[in-house]
């Protein structure tokens, strides 16, 4: 549930536009912090990790309809600021492949950037508290907690859209009052075909006008039912991969992302020449 699979034109404009503005603000701040590090090193690192996330999203871990995300791993490897840039890139390329709407790129960036930052903080904090040898359980718990929190963010976004989402985006604009009206409030048969109120009074019609919104309760029930399976799979994969990387190249997991000693050359593991 790492990113919102909501198509274009469902959420109200103020919500997705706000998401875009916040995401661009986050990118501006993240770029400031990222450029403090050597950008020549940061650029290829973000590129490689973003590509890794995109490749992993294209592969099913078991023959089920769940794909993995590796966002927590990307967060641990990149840190919160480079992670925010990577989140935007991943979401944008996914949207350009038709996977998630273009209008929700901003909101998706905020959700995935939060996932990366939280994952980074929880894994680093947990490893410091419990010791590096317990990186697998720490990574698993951190991933599950992170995904639970970002799934709640997703439900929060739909709740924010609330009844306004369907009412605005499937409603007609009244040219006189510049207000939107829900064309589905009259029932299924009248949708765009008949366009009449079927004997309803104006009061009854106005009463029904707000009922065409998204069902937040049902959405939350479905997400919190299907989500934990994905969280569990992602937690197991993250624990497996981070455990492996922590064993063979610990500096990648516990060091700074753009530090010189993170990138040993072949045959020169100390990075000295």
């Amino acid at each position: 549930m790492s990113h919102i699979h909501i198509p274009d034109g469902v959420l109200p404009w103020w919500l997705w536009l706000g998401g875009w503005l916040l995401a661009l603000g986050l990118l501006a701040v993240a770029s400031r912090f990222a450029e403090r590090a050597e950008s020549r090193r940061a650029v290829p690192l973000i590129g490689a990790v973003s590509a890794l996330v995109l490749v992993s999203m294209g592969s099913e871990i078991v023959p089920l309809a769940y794909h993995i995300n590796l966002t927590v791993i990307a967060g641990v490897l990149l840190g919160p600021w480079l992670g925010a840039i990577s989140a935007f890139i991943v979401v944008l390329i996914l949207a350009l492949m038709g996977h998630g709407g273009i209008t929700v790129v901003g909101l998706n960036t905020l959700v995935i950037a939060t996932e990366m930052a939280l994952g980074w903080a929880l894994v680093r904090g947990g490893a410091r508290l419990l010791g590096r040898t317990r990186i697998r359980p720490v990574a698993a718990v951190a991933t599950a907690v992170t995904l639970a929190i970002t799934t709640t963010m997703l439900v929060g976004i739909v709740a924010l859209a609330g009844t306004g989402a369907a009412t605005r985006e499937t409603g007609a604009l009244d040219a006189e009052t510049l207000e939107f009206r829900d064309p589905f409030s009259d029932g299924v048969l009248s949708i765009g075909l008949l366009g009449e109120h079927h004997g309803e009074s104006e009061e009854e019609h106005a009463e029904h006008a707000g009922e065409g919104g998204l069902s937040v309760g049902r959405f939350a029930a479905v997400v919190y039912t299907l989500g934990p399976i994905g969280w569990l799979l992602e937690a197991l994969v993250t624990a497996g991969i981070l455990g492996y990387v922590a064993r063979v190249r610990p500096s990648l997991v516990f060091g700074e992302p753009t530090a010189e000693d993170q990138h040993p050359r072949y045959g020169d593991e100390q990075g000295r020449h």
């Binding site: 034109g9 020549r40 490689a48 871990i61 791993i73 935007f88 390329i93 985006e169």
Partner: protein, 266 residues
């Protein structure tokens, strides 16, 4: 997601849409996305989807590769529609919007190389973000190839089987772990290349110009017409409500004509 198929079509394709300037195609895609966002009736959205498919067929874009990509978001939209939509018609509208928006984006990406799509974006976003976008695009193909090789190697050793999901999961995790280390080595090599070439914090992409201005005009006029129709139905909902089916019929006609043109120019 077959990124290489998209890239091959974008770079090697020779359709009318390929000859238009990327800037015109981006504006046209923006107008069409505006139409999808504003479409408030499943009949209108369905007409839009049919018309776009017809346009893609007419210019001979690879429909067989495009349509699965455009239909993929329908799966997620179905889940969302089932979970959140207040009724079946709104649900249908949500799914149709997902497919139509994906179709617009997929048409753009099958006819325009990624760097050309990123070029205008580079002017808006911070330098490091624009450069990292291009680096991601480059790394994506290398890592996708490498991951394919890793999985093939594991499969040849009977490591991945649908009958043994746990064993398959372990093998995939190992492959991903190896891929992660490889991606770090890749970033190191790219860093070395940037350093040798004197990278000063900006990778520039020269925007391509139009080979056939008529193609630009056609793409822009088509997109503007679609948006105008959708906005007319939205603004004058009360008067035009009963005629939404006309848009579906027009879309179906577009599809038939598009398929015919595409078939005749084979």
């Amino acid at each position: 997601m077959d990124v290489t198929a998209v890239d091959r079509s974008a770079v090697l394709g020779e359709t009318l849409l390929h000859r238009a300037a990327p800037a015109s195609k981006l504006v046209a895609a923006g107008l069409l996305l505006g139409a999808v966002v504003n479409a408030n009736d499943p009949l209108i959205t369905a007409g839009l989807a049919l018309s776009l498919t017809g346009a893609a067929a007419a210019v001979r874009l690879p429909l067989r590769q495009m349509l699965p990509l455009a239909l993929y978001p329908a799966l997620f939209a179905l889940v969302f529609a089932f979970a959140a939509a207040p009724g079946p018609v709104t649900g249908a509208l949500v799914v149709l919007k997902a497919v139509t928006a994906a179709l617009v984006v997929v048409m753009l990406m099958f006819s325009t190389p990624y760097p050309q799509v990123f070029a205008p974006l580079q002017r808006v976003v911070p330098t490091i973000v624009g450069d990292a976008l291009l680096m991601t695009y480059r790394s994506l193909f290398i890592l996708a190839d490498k991951f394919g090789d890793l999985l093939r190697a594991v499969r040849l050793r009977s490591g991945i089987s649908t009958r043994q999901p746990i064993r398959a999961a372990r093998a995939t995790i190992r492959a991903l772990g190896g891929l992660l280390l490889y991606s770090f080595d890749l970033s190191q090599r790219e860093y070395d290349i940037l350093r040798v070439r004197g990278y000063q914090g900006r990778l520039r992409v020269s925007p391509k110009t139009s080979v056939e201005p008529a193609a630009d005009a056609a793409a822009l006029m088509y997109a503007a017409l679609i948006l105008a129709v959708v906005l007319a139905f939205r603004i004058f909902h009360d008067s035009l409500d009963g005629y939404a089916w006309l848009v579906t019929v027009a879309g179906a006609l577009d599809l038939a004509v598009g398929l015919l043109i595409g078939w005749r120019h084979r």
